[in-house]
């Protein structure tokens, strides 16, 4: 049962899905799309970025805010990255493989491409792009998918370059790794057709399934990211970035609705109180020369303690807007954009070693009444000034309503302020890359990938899998390997589709749950495994042991691991001798039981050969010897 009636609140949500493509090379250079261990970096350099004007002569507001503090960006380079990632060489032409994967995706969503694709520079000055912009191109629009709550439009598909991965933040320096920069990705934006948290999740799931259907997208953590755009009728459009897990989407939507409702409530209250924000910034450093509060002492030593006066805000700064987050947290988020650690507000004081008496001194010094709130910041003078200005701006917005902004998804479903919503001013053409023509003939020549749902049905009808197994394998990362293997063993008597599927999506997850690092298993390992089964070198029962061994020592080949483990000890003559011996020894028992002796005898034989010889083969051999013994009387 939902807490709110979302249709009554006028919820409108849209998703933006970013999916990395599994192309051989990056989007604008010929480097491989390999993720590296940052310890393998062989070179580093650093840069600063500045906000610049677009071709229309405007500066992007998000860019201006982000360059308020001069951050130093340190980049880790590798022997798999080049001067293009370093922003030291113009980009090469757009990767055709990535373009064709993207066109295939456009077809899946019934989208229509533009005739001429223009690569743009989207200003991003958080350092995640060495150039200060992300290259992105609008490729197609006007598509849709069907959900159980109705049709959801797919408004746009853009081909973009992935940003560099943030490694660490040290003071005003941020360290980025360049391996990820330039990996092609598609950005798919839905229309604001989503009307409930549940539908948001369904749309995300379906888009994810469509993307994986191409077999040409990257898998694993961080290779797909969801952004959610949310507004309610009385609220404002808020863009929430970086939702990594599908499970979180519903919570994110619910919590944002909650936040907007609470902010609307606060606004109503502020209006009724006739609250307002004083423009003046008060330097109250002098009041704390002898303070016992460690955080304030730092401010006295390092620079200044500044205060802002919010008339008739008392009690509301501490009001919760999301579980564990208050209006004061929103002020604090803004202050942090100036590089300070946070703020203090009178709704949470006395605290942090700041005494009741000190609070009163501040109130008296700046003429604050009991119904007013005071916000304080302690840091280097310039940072403190920028921070308190940011708080004043945000406090004014609280009276006006809900600010339009870009927020960051937090792991618990809450969100924190990131930057203002960027406008069109952040886009200008990438003149180093020629426009790409998409003729009708070219678009028609691109094959539409078969949907995973369709493929699962085919695995049932053509390969005899049960529905559950078919769906599991269709949605798994092993799908391409599975398809390759079922083709190889199409007519094999020892390896069938169900065995392959059970191995890939049954045994592998099972041993992973037991702590085996199945990420180490390669396609070659699996191919070697099934080849050995096909040639009857090992029994099906040995799969689990063999995979465990290979995952533990990934450098081993399957045949080497088989001999190491003694799994290949299957010598038919030896087995035959053992069976003959067993039959002889149990002669009396057999004479007594007749053919029914097979079961108990099988137990003895299995005990000897479990894991090395297929039970079916043992059973056949035993039956043969038994029949001979009985017929000979």
């Amino acid at each position: 049962m939902e807490k709110y009636d979302y249709s009554e609140l006028g919820l409108k949500a849209g998703l933006e899905i970013h999916q990395q493509l599994d192309s051989k090379e990056k989007l604008f250079c010929r480097c491989p799309t390999l993720i590296r261990d940052v310890r393998d970096s062989d070179f580093e350099f650093f840069r600063y970025l500045r906000a610049t004007e677009s071709e229309m002569g405007e500066k992007d507001r998000a860019a201006v805010e982000q360059t308020k503090i001069r951050r130093k960006y340190i980049y880790k380079a590798y022997d798999t990255t080049c001067l293009v990632e370093n922003d030291e060489e113009p980009p090469r032409e757009l990767n055709k493989e990535a373009l064709e994967i993207s066109l295939g995706i456009a077809k899946l969503f019934n989208m229509k491409p533009v005739d001429q694709m223009h690569v743009m520079r989207k200003i991003v000055v958080d350092g995640s792009n060495t150039s200060g912009f992300q290259r992105t191109a609008f490729l197609a629009s006007d598509g849709h998918i069907e959900t159980s709550d109705g049709r959801c439009g797919i408004d746009s598909l853009c081909v973009e370059e992935e940003a560099a991965q943030k490694i660490e933040e040290i003071g005003d320096s941020i360290i980025y790794s360049l391996d990820r920069l330039g990996i092609p990705l598609v950005e798919i934006a839905t229309a604001p057709d989503i009307k409930s948290p549940r539908q948001a999740r369904e749309v995300a799931e379906q888009i994810g399934m469509f993307l994986r259907s191409t077999g040409k997208v990257k898998r694993g953590l961080g290779t797909i990211r969801q952004d959610v755009n949310i507004s309610i009728a009385e609220g404002a459009r808020v863009e929430i970035k970086g939702v990594q897990a599908l499970d979180l989407i519903e919570d994110i939507v619910r919590r944002e609705v909650e936040r907007q409702l609470n902010l609307l409530f606060i606004r109503q209250e502020l209006m009724e109180r006739k609250a307002f924000v004083c423009e003046e910034i008060y330097d109250i450093t002098g009041l704390f020369i002898d303070t016992k509060s460690k955080v304030l002492q730092k401010g006295v030593r390092k620079g200044a303690i500044l205060a802002a006066l919010l008339r008739k805000f008392d009690g509301l700064v501490g009001k919760e807007v999301q579980p564990g987050r208050r209006l004061g947290t929103e002020f604090s988020d803004r202050a942090k954009t100036a590089g300070v650690g946070g703020i203090f507000h009178t709704d949470e004081l006395p605290n942090y070693g700041i005494t009741e008496k000190e609070v009163q001194t501040v109130r008296d010094a700046i003429g604050a009444h009991p119904e007013d709130a005071v916000i304080m910041v302690a840091d280097e003078s310039e940072k403190a000034r920028l921070a308190i200005e940011a708080v004043i701006a945000r406090a004014k917005e609280a009276i006006e309503g809900i600010p339009e902004e870009t927020r960051r998804a937090l792991p618990d479903g809450n969100t924190a302020y990131m930057r203002p919503l960027p406008g069109a001013a952040r886009m200008y053409p990438e003149t180093d890359v020629p426009q790409v023509e998409i003729s009708q003939e070219y678009f028609d020549s691109i094959e539409t990938p078969e949907l995973l749902t369709e493929r699962a049905k085919r695995f049932v009808s053509e390969n005899g899998l049960n529905k559950e197994l078919a769906e599991k394998v269709a949605y798994s990362k092993y799908l391409p390997l599975f398809e390759n293997l079922i083709e190889t063993y199409r007519k094999d008597t020892n390896v069938n589709s169900t065995l392959i599927a059970r191995t890939l999506v049954g045994i592998v997850p099972e041993i992973r749950r037991n702590g085996v690092e199945t990420e180490n298993l390669t396609d070659e390992h699996f191919k070697g495994l099934f080849a050995a089964i096909s040639k009857q070198e090992i029994a099906k029962e040995a799969i689990q042991d063999l995979l465990t061994a290979l995952a533990g020592e990934p450098n081993l080949s399957a045949p080497k691991a088989i001999s190491n483990l003694g799994l290949s000890a299957f010598d038919p003559a030896e087995v035959e001798n053992f069976i003959k011996k067993t039959v002889r020894e149990k002669g009396d028992f057999i004479r007594e039981k007749g053919p029914a002796a097979l079961g108990p005898l099988m137990g003895i034989v299995m005990k000897e050969y479990r894991g090395t010889v297929d039970g079916k083969i043992l059973s056949q051999m035993l039956k043969k010897e038994l029949d001979i013994f009985i017929s000979q009387g």
Binding site: M56, E88, G132, A425, M427
Partner: protein, 425 residues
């Protein structure tokens, strides 16, 4: 459907609609900027265009700089309130002063000295700037007349009291202009050439750091013609290169400029502004201003390659050329087949200067017979002078004197740091 750049239009293609502002477009296409900021192109004969609102505001030219000419040079007092040195910024174009031209889609020079000051407000704390546009061309389009015009403007600004000069310049031929200014002007103040390898419209452009470091050098004691550009790929420091010893050694990297056969004069730390020097230099006021703009454009730099036909030299000798710089192999060699042509040139009173395509190191034509024969034919060793510097020097020398012997004598002398007595690396 009639529409022009800047109009808002609706485009329909196979039932899908797009709205946006008309941008400069390629032949046969209409390009629009959509509300999202993305541009997209549509084939004119496959779409229906509806005019939504004509305002004819061009996204080109005038509006490029937003019409917000904030604070032209010298209007605002620096925060420190100190009296600052007067620096003239002379702009000639190039990447440091580049913006996107939406007519061609290419990056062109249309950014004035004032725009540079507006874009890099930190400069105002370093000096009191005056901007002057000399030309707006990419450096590959410069010629010896451009050098003379620029040198004249530099001299005028020094005479008018400038304490230092900054010349913004395209990087491709910056080393030629730097050499030309070095020979034409004996300067009592710093003359600094600066450019950028990444266009000024990108947040990562090297223009701001290079310009700020150039301003530090222009207000310093280093009264030489120098080139100030990134020292490494990081934004850590700039190198100060002597105008006659510098060469662009990479097509695209920020630290493309290197001093050859010399250490740089010094470095400028970007964060602190501190200048460190490595070699001796001429100090502010040590020399008084002298201007000798004469130049002979008909000189050529000829690269010798294996098997190259000696008759190439006849084209120059018979074509009215007044002097030649040869870029020989190794220690400064050309094929023995070229020797008679060298003799023919020197007999026609054309100086022939030998430099090396190794760039690094000194020419020596006294080690092998080939070299000795070249010297006997009248060729002059360019010592450790860079080939391009030797060419500019020869042009300037021949602009100063018509006397062959005098020209030869000048070519053998170090006139502006182009020949060093000892090579240290």
């Amino acid at each position: 459907m009639e529409f022009k750049q800047g109009d808002r239009v609706r485009i329909e293609k196979n039932g899908t609609a797009y709205e946006g502002k008309v941008m400069p477009s390629m032949e046969g296409y209409i390009t629009i900027k959509m509300n999202s900021g993305y541009n997209a192109g549509f084939s004119k004969d496959r779409v229906k265009v509806t005019l939504l609102g004509g305002n004819g505001e061009t996204p080109n030219g005038g509006s490029l700089n937003g019409g917000k000419k904030s604070g032209a040079a010298g209007e605002e007092l620096p925060k420190s309130g100190r009296k600052l040195q007067k620096i003239a910024i002379l702009s000639t174009g190039g990447t440091i002063a580049s913006k996107i031209d939406y007519r061609t889609g290419a990056v062109t020079s249309q950014f004035t000295a004032d725009d540079i000051l507006a874009a890099i407000p930190e400069l105002k704390e370093i000096a009191d700037f005056k901007g002057r546009v000399i030309s707006s061309i990419l450096s590959e389009n410069m010629d010896s007349e451009s050098w003379q015009n620029l040198a004249r403007a530099v001299v005028e600004e020094i005479e008018a009291g400038a304490d230092g000069i900054i010349v913004t310049h395209g990087t491709d031929t910056m080393m030629y202009t730097a050499a030309a200014l070095s020979f034409m002007i004996e300067t009592p103040v710093p003359i600094v050439l600066v450019g950028s390898q990444r266009s000024a419209d990108r947040p990562s452009s090297d223009n701001a750091m290079n310009a700020i470091c150039a301003a530090r050098v222009a207000t310093s004691d280093i009264a030489e013609v120098s080139v100030v550009m990134h020292g490494t790929t990081s934004d850590d420091f700039c190198e100060i290169h002597r105008g006659t010893k510098v060469r662009k050694m990479h097509t695209s990297r920020r630290d493309a400029f290197k001093s050859i056969n010399s250490l740089p004069i010094g470095t400028v730390d970007y964060s602190t502004g501190e200048i460190k020097t490595f070699i001796d230099y001429t100090r502010r006021g040590e020399r008084s201003l002298k201007f000798k703009p004469g130049i002979e454009p008909k000189c050529a730099l000829v690269k010798f390659t294996p098997g190259a036909d000696p008759e190439i030299l006849d084209c120059y000798i018979n074509g009215g050329y007044k002097g030649l710089v040869l870029e020989g192999t190794g220690l400064g060699h050309v094929s023995t087949k070229w020797t008679p042509k060298i003799r023919k040139a020197t007999e026609a009173k054309m100086p022939v200067i030998i430099t090396s395509q190794c760039l690094n190191g000194r020419v020596c034509d006294r080690v092998y017979d080939t070299g000795r024969d070249m010297l006997k034919a009248g060729a002059i060793e360019g010592e450790d002078t860079l080939p391009e510097t030797a060419l500019v020097k020869l042009m300037w020398v021949l602009g100063q004197t018509d006397e062959f012997d005098e020209a030869i004598k000048m070519m053998k002398e170090d006139l502006s740091g182009e020949i060093t007595e000892c090579c240290f690396k």
